[in-house]
Assembly symmetry: C2
Homo-oligomer: 513 residues x 2
């Protein structure tokens, strides 16, 4: 058994059965081992940003890590932006990055670079295998790091000779630990704080699932404390029959007065809110210095148990919280507007859908219009690194082939990684991509004014507008083997969406704004 074979067998033993891949020469023995040893589904991405974004989407839905297969430093570099988002989503990923043979690195061959330096900023763990006999154990370590209670990114760098040399030993993967219990004194402190008033409970990540949300809402009802979430969560379970909490809309800076007035902020799988970007003359921390920040549960802690204990202290009953009711908007017609498209989505989202949301400026009206749709999952942009949506929806669809995925995609960010459409076509994934074609980096026009730099002049417009030439998304999709349609009035959008949802495989709708 060579090192590559021990790697594949360790991955299989560790429950890693999907590999999003873009291989190169140095990974050929790993490819060969994947070819010969059953147990791992290999999904090709035509660019590494597709690979890493898909691994993020896969984890968010499957709740277990996929492997990625990346080629040397540049391949990892190409995947870095979506690893950044995955890291901010607490997604668990096992990156396998090929490297030159250990004895070849000294020659500084053309593709040599410092892979560890590139990997470190986005990885909780980076390790280069030294010998074939250690690859299995190294992979087991990587899986254990990735599967920690808080999902993490582990990057294993695999020199080619450690893959091809004999002597591989299948690694023993440590059992996946459950979430960490929250000490009762922490719970007690939170309970006491909630009795004081001027508080907010800010919930994120795991606390936005269907089992946790009613408990949080019950605590809010029993204590009169506001319960809210930010707008950059890995996954929210919502829709009819689910419980929703207030959302602090993006940009979070707009909620500055409300946040600054708090005496206590209680965090549940969330961090203290700060402004996304600094602005001249405004401080980045959105709570007052006098605000006491208590963490009930950090990422990886047992969120449901901690919330339950707090609820019990107030005799708050989750089963008495009223869930959102099924309430679909009427189907709008005529002129196409963002509000109407949001309503149409609310009217059409099928039960159990997965919504990936990289709408950026176009998405601000989506939440209210879809709150009464049948139960669905909503996946947000966690790290602010654009180019997430098409890969994320691809990975989510690989994780949940029986569910409909809808990706709401701004056009500027969609351009980054739309090679993922090809993977959707190849794997026949049920993804409908809705492109918000506003033909500009619209958010930046606003930010230029926000930071006090004024409105865009001619040179700035050359860097912020995408209208010369106009991007033809339907042609782009066709080029990738995905059918599409363009919608300029509501009837076109509705017809395209109904048709897209009824058919198997991917579809793209360009919404001309």
């Amino acid at each position: 058994m060579n090192g590559a074979e021990s790697l594949v067998k360790t991955l299989v033993r560790g429950g890693v059965d999907v590999c999003f891949a873009n291989p190169g020469t140095s990974e050929m023995h790993f490819v060969s081992a994947l070819d010969r040893i059953p147990g791992i589904r290999c999904v090709l991405g035509l660019f590494e940003g597709v690979v890493t974004g898909a691994a993020d989407g896969y984890y968010r839905m499957a709740e277990k890590p996929a492997a990625t297969l990346l080629h040397l430093g540049p391949g990892l570099g190409n995947g870095l932006a979506n690893l950044h988002n995955a890291r901010r989503a607490n997604s668990s990923i096992v990156n396998i990055v090929g490297e030159h043979a250990t004895y070849h690195i000294q020659y500084d061959a053309p593709l040599t670079s410092d892979i560890e330096s590139i990997a470190r900023p986005m990885s909780a763990w980076v390790h280069t295998s030294r010998e074939a006999r250690l690859v299995g154990a190294d992979a087991a370590d990587a899986i254990a790091v990735a599967r920690s209670p808080k999902g993490q990114i582990a990057t294993l760098i695999l020199p080619a000779d450690t893959a091809w040399n004999e002597g591989g030993v299948v690694g023993t993967v440590a059992p996946t630990p459950g979430p960490r219990p929250v000490p009762s004194e922490v719970v007690q402190e939170v309970v006491e704080a909630l009795k004081q008033g001027d508080s907010m409970i800010l919930i994120g990540n795991r606390a936005l699932r269907a089992d946790a949300l009613p408990i949080a809402a019950a605590i809010g009802a029993a204590t009169g404390v506001k319960v809210a979430s930010l707008s950059r969560n890995p996954r929210i379970e919502r829709g009819a029959g689910r419980v929703s909490v207030d959302r602090i809309p993006n940009p979070v800076e707009n909620s500055r007065p409300m946040l600054a007035a708090l005496k206590t902020l209680i965090l549940v799988d969330e961090v203290s809110p700060v402004s996304f970007f600094a602005q001249p003359g405004k401080i980045g921390k959105l709570t007052a210095d006098t605000c006491r920040v208590l963490t009930l549960a950090a990422s990886g802690d047992d969120v449901v148990a901690a919330l339950t204990e707090v609820a019990e202290a107030f005799a708050a009953r989750a089963d008495q919280v009223k869930p959102d009711v099924l309430a679909r908007p009427d189907m709008p017609t005529g002129e196409l507007t963002l509000t109407k498209v949001a309503q149409a989505l609310g009217a059409l989202i099928p039960e159990n859908a997965i919504i990936c949301d990289e709408s950026i400026t176009s998405g601000r009206g989506l939440f209210p219009a879809t709150a009464g749709a049948p139960p669905h999952d909503w996946l947000q942009l966690t790290g602010g690194s654009i180019g997430m949506g098409i890969p994320l929806s691809t990975g989510a669809a690989v994780a949940c082939p029986e569910r409909q995925v809808i990706n709401l995609q701004a056009d500027g960010s969609g351009m980054y990684t739309f090679q993922a459409l090809w993977t959707q076509a190849r794997e026949k994934l049920n993804v409908v991509t809705v492109i918000w074609a506003n033909r500009s980096y619209k958010i930046l026009h606003g930010e230029l004014i926000n930071v006090g730099a004024g409105a865009a002049g001619p040179t700035a417009r050359t860097m912020l507008d995408l209208d010369n030439p106009t991007i033809d998304w339907v042609s782009l999709a066709r080029g990738m083997g995905v059918e599409g349609a363009r919608a300029t009035i509501m009837e076109e959008f509705t017809a395209a969406m109904i048709s897209a949802l009824a058919r198997p495989g991917p579809f793209l709708i360009e919404v001309v704004l």
Copy 2:
């Protein structure tokens, strides 16, 4: 004057008058300063790999650095692969990477990451500005590093507050030094070695320009020593009226016996040849341990002067070297083959064209068929990081608007960064992109066998073949605002190429192999 304004004025003063850009919020004051202060042409790329690859192509042709404008760690990450190629091309680039305001970094806002760690592997110099008043001086340092005798990549990280705060001071840019003279004892040592036999002169980079090549060839003729070059050079001046030298074809490993027999290897702006990748049981160094390696001139040294001195020692006369004569192949017809397309290119390449070559496996017959075309420049893939061609040709066309650019592009690598087509359309660049549509990572099928891993089975094929679905390059180009045509027989290719060369602006030809 704020820091951003001092940055723009320093760039202009330092002769940096093109900025390839993909901005974000943290760069808005830099964008605003570019908007208000004339002197820098801003060219938008819809993905950062476009931006950095274009800066590489621009430098190779303009021989002066462009700036790039990149957004935080993820934006830099997206540009890393083509920075890798630029580094291997000794291209000079001044990266400006936006960063959070200095006081905002502590809050670990969603887009925070360790930018310096990402930048270092591909940069000769990395620096984060600390204050507005230092930005101008920092930028001057960056330009000086970039404009060193050996072109280098300098990465200046610009926290938002150093851009917007007042107190900016325009930096004083050190004069650009000329190439370093080569000591006469080094010349003498090379002259003595050349008298011994069993030698080779391996020339690269600056030695492949029209002023150096005849001198190198004259030395070869006078001494009987073989003069050759590798196949990963930033820029070769070639064609009718120019002098060519033997080319060690890719993969260089195939020349192992010839290289291993050398007693002396003389390097002129080149490094000792090693195999691109290690293979089981084969050593990576391609010269024998007993081979003496002498460097006549390293990158940044005065290559022409050093060659001239050596030539004089042998009374070798460059003006007596016979240049390649104008000899265009006949125009082939009928069935389309790689050989025939190469001949058609040899028949059609216009005078003074710039050829960007990311043909990978499809390009092996191109050099002989085009040697007798009118004089032109040939730009190769220097670092092996795929996704270079479309951005590189974009930057070359920005540098040389009066010249025809032809980009010969493998399909697998073209998929990485084909957003650059949009920039070509927007800037109305004279670039003809020829896509070699073999619909596979064909080189990897070969490498799988080379490394002893055998032929691809079903799972490996899912990672190496791009034929399901077939990529429709003409639709992709149309989506980006670039007209295109598909060629399945030679007459179609020839007609499309003649038409494309006759018109202004970009065009794409998909060659179905």
